[in-house]
């Protein structure tokens, strides 16, 4: 299936919850890997993922990548790149949340390898994943303050007595 066909199928199943389709320009590969569908209702992301995984025709068995973006307008986004190894098709989904209430349902129980990627998104961007089994920082130490990839992040002066700026 092409990813626009998958999008149409999603739209038929979830209606209003699925937002616009963003077609990327560029070559065929770019079009296939970088075009994405907005999920307007963030709380539905897990249901959408479950549907994509379990529907016989779609059979998305793998989460390629879970990444996060600070859009710079007080919103954060999480992008899900999904692949079906058996059916050989792709789709990307995106949810956007306000920066002061960045909570997204976890999809760890849909694809268990989302676990560490969600922890990374929490560590770097400060997006909390609801019902995640182990929502701790993954790269930085537990006592780190703030989420460094946010645009409004200020570098600390000292960390455990070590001077940080040059």
């Amino acid at each position: 299936m092409t990813n626009t066909e998958i999008y149409d199928k999603l739209k038929a199943a979830f209606g209003e919850k699925i937002g616009e389709w963003h077609e990327q320009s560029g070559g065929e590969y770019m079009k296939r890997m970088s075009s994405y569908a907005d999920i307007t209702d963030t709380s539905y992301i897990r249901d959408v993922c479950l549907y994509l995984r379990d529907e016989a025709e779609l059979e998305f068995d793998s989460l390629l990548l879970l990444s996060s973006v600070d859009n710079g307008d007080k919103t954060l986004s999480v992008t899900y790149h999904l692949e079906s190894k058996s059916k050989k098709h792709f789709i990307a989904l995106k949810v956007t949340v306000p920066i002061d209430n960045a909570i997204v349902p976890s999809i760890t129980d849909v694809w268990s390898h989302a676990n560490w990627q969600e922890r990374e998104a929490w560590d770097m961007m400060g997006i909390k994943f609801l019902n995640h089994p182990d929502m701790r920082r993954i790269l930085l130490d537990e006592d780190w303050v703030g989420h460094p990839l946010r645009k409004d992040y200020k570098h600390p002066e000292f960390y455990r007595g070590m001077k940080v700026p040059y």
Binding site: L139, D141, Y159, R160, M162, K163, V164, Y166
Partner: protein
């Protein structure tokens, strides 16, 4: 051996070397600088190249040891993140005296490419442990690392049991 074999008259044959205690000890120490076997980032690749047969750091008596308790020299080969800095300091404290530190590459000298935006990088390993020799480069070639090692050997050669090092 000469002394033990000829206990009646040790000075009978010419099988004897007379030297200063400092010279002998320093010679022994500088020809067996065992190094702590660990690498921190891309510079570690050059360190491995220096240890491999092409550059053969082993001919200087450098043997990688898996434990700080058995090491004389620590090569800080790469980016010292703040998280790793606490560990590096611990490792340094576990090494027995006398101990020497080579800071290899721009990262551990001064933060390297991360000097401005690296919120997680210690801007120079000398902020947590004392450094004997700095090897510049990103990454330094194995020849440069060997040069740094020779500098440490020169330093050891000048040390004395009676006086403090120059």
């Amino acid at each position: 051996m000469g002394l033990l074999n000829k206990q009646d008259n040790p000075f009978e044959s010419s099988n004897i070397i007379i030297t200063g205690a400092d010279t002998l000890l320093n010679w022994a120490r500088l020809s067996s600088l065992w190094m702590m076997g660990f690498g921190l980032a891309c510079c570690a690749i050059e360190m491995m190249a220096a240890s491999a047969s092409h550059y053969d750091i082993g001919r200087f008596g450098v043997i990688p040891r898996p434990s700080p308790r058995q090491s004389d020299i620590m090569l800080i080969s790469g980016t010292v993140t703040l998280k790793m800095a606490t560990r590096t300091k611990l490792l340094y404290e576990q090494m027995p005296d006398p101990k020497y530190i080579i800071s290899m590459g721009s990262c551990s000298n001064c933060g390297g490419p991360y000097w401005e935006h690296g919120y997680h990088v210690l801007k120079g390993v000398d902020r947590v442990i004392p450094v004997d020799v700095y090897v510049p480069g990103c990454p330094p070639r194995p020849e440069a690392l060997l040069e740094g090692l020779i500098k440490v050997q020169e330093k050891v050669r000048k040390q004395s049991l009676a006086k403090t090092a120059v």
